[in-house]
Symmetry: D3
Subunit: 152 residues, 6 copies
């Protein structure tokens, strides 16, 4: 049975930290689906189409990495895709506490799906999409925060 992992997020926009996690996890799974969660009640800075296109360009040379959008609970989406793993990166202990709550509740609801964590590389650990958006709004230099494929 193939090992499929979902890498869920808003990716508004995707950062160098996200990209590093997915590339480093690529050999652990048979397939990774970078899954853009679309939440009708939460506004985003960039359109879903644009976010998806950026991510597709970034991973276009990776045969086992796909990009999709989804709505609803992540564990329901996992079941629909036959994915037994949720992939997440960890930067800080605030991240960890947040992820632990989500991950343990997911596990309470669905024992068959595991959340698998990789560490963000030290040099990328201060980067978040929210900091990127803040720098972008104020016209700062984004070259060390996002991949070249994200053209703003």
């Amino acid at each position: 049975m193939s090992k499929i992992a979902i890498f869920p997020g808003s990716f508004d926009p995707i950062t160098l930290g996200h990209v590093s996690i997915v590339k480093r996890a690529a050999s652990l799974f048979d397939k990774i689906i970078v899954a853009i969660g679309v939440n009708s009640t939460k506004s985003s800075m960039f359109s879903v189409e644009q976010r998806k296109e950026w991510i597709e360009n970034i991973f276009k040379d990776y045969e086992n990495i796909e990009v999709e959008t989804y709505t609803g609970l992540t564990i329901n989406y996992c079941k629909k895709k036959g994915a037994k793993y949720i992939l997440r990166g960890l930067r800080t202990s605030a991240d960890f506490e947040f992820e632990r709550g989500i991950g343990q509740v997911n596990f309470m609801m669905e024992k068959e799906i595991e959340t698998v964590f990789l560490l963000t590389e030290a040099k990328y650990s201060p980067i978040s999409s929210s900091i990127v958006r803040d720098v972008y709004k104020n016209g700062g230099d984004l070259s060390k925060l996002i991949p070249a494929e994200v053209i703003l």
Copy 2:
């Protein structure tokens, strides 16, 4: 003099974690008032009336547990009710940091009122009302998160 504790919160909705805290604290105090804070500027998913009814049903066999609603500062509400204790549960260190700020400011303003903390049981520690609302919105299984009396 009787020992009265306020257990304040939004309870939007009450979770298995909240219920466990109140039941375990019931023998420590002469009376516990589960106090639904009504905040006109913060929207809730469930109406105050519905939240109150659920909580009343949960504790209907506990003689020393009452359910009320209140507005304004929690310490002012405590003084009005003659309560010298605020009861709170602690799940994570993020919880703790948040509660410490509130609790120490309350203590600066009113030395006569103490915040008393119990630990959330390990199995309930990932549950929060906000995770419950998220699972509910997306049609997930709530049976391990909320008591049977909360009928959604």
Copy 3:
């Protein structure tokens, strides 16, 4: 049935933070036993006798506060004394993480005994017995760290 709490610790030596917790908790319980844990494998700076005498002097005017020494598991000592509560102070999130582990394991082993936490007052939150010992060894001023009854 009377509400008895154990306040366990090494108290090597007792600090202003410890004293504040016990005094503030005194009206919540019928009796508080300040219990000096004696651990044959852990060396202390001050003798058990001296630590006990200091604590007795501090609380000599409190009718419902006693001082004892004990060995073995704290929950076993609680059962022996008929105490259903363990009292602890919380200063920092590191404290919290440590106490949560102990408290939740105690709860797994003995559901009838609850750990009850009060917040350390903000002004005392940086004080620990280990910092006191370090200042003492180096001849620093201890007057803002320990009660006058601890004569060094």
Copy 4:
């Protein structure tokens, strides 16, 4: 070359904790600019003019403390003012995690600007502008939270 530090914030309103940080840092720098960040998308409780006036009154006897408003990225504002230092206070580990992200990203973008942190005094560590606003809205006593110059 003179050592100029920016102390950026919303100061909605300024608290006793903020004031303590700036006064204690005053001798470390040749000039400190208390810089009120004006963010058109974030609403504030008090007007920029009022916040500025309060802060000017508080520091009117400090020759090397100025008060200004700014928009945009803090590091761009620093460059405009010739400031090589950003001054920040640290109260809690949640504060620290937040500040580290901002500070390390600033450092990635501009190696010449350093963020310098002082510790909030223990007695002020529970105070935040958001707690002050909450107490204010509910008519609580603010005298231990904000300086006398902040007249509400």
Copy 5:
């Protein structure tokens, strides 16, 4: 190429939390080596032989789980065994901070080896080998802390 993971630790003794991590990770890897680190300068409560025997008994029905002992740096041991993954469980944010330091330094030294984390199940999160040893020394009930195969 086969996916081999090392699960390193002292396992002094192995706990229910450790066992849960390994069993849940068993389908993610082709082989997991539970690797008992032998450190000549750190004393243990139980002998290496005994610890190894317990772990072998626990996993005797899992074809892809092996038990070994090792000395020296974990990443060197990984290279010797052809393992590209280090498996670790995460219980608390204190755990996370500790693991992040080790994991990021390992990654700085050897980019080809990734640390993969699973969350400890909520009900096991308070359990640590050090708490188990403390309960054991004091004659407490260990049945909810360690697997039946660990016979003390």
Copy 6:
């Protein structure tokens, strides 16, 4: 009056993280004294003389950086040297909690001495002397952890 800062530590051995903090702080102070705390009850891996020589070599081109050894309380040493500032680096929230305790107690005992913190650069944040010692003992590659002047 000149601004003198003490950068205290064991430096057993000094790491790239320490060096980065001192160099970045060099322009903020008139003089920085890298002060090796000698503690007769705590054993070190490298001799005081060797640690001092390494640090002197690292900073030999910095006119305002000196290296000394000291015993006793850091604040007493500061007073002896006329230093009004203690310089410290912050890597993690565990660091922060530890430093806050020390820093706030120092401030309680001596209001005239401030602890000033800089952030460790993201790429150095996982490095600690204790990890360096562990890698060293096991023959690992130290080139990304310590400066070239530390010859092991």
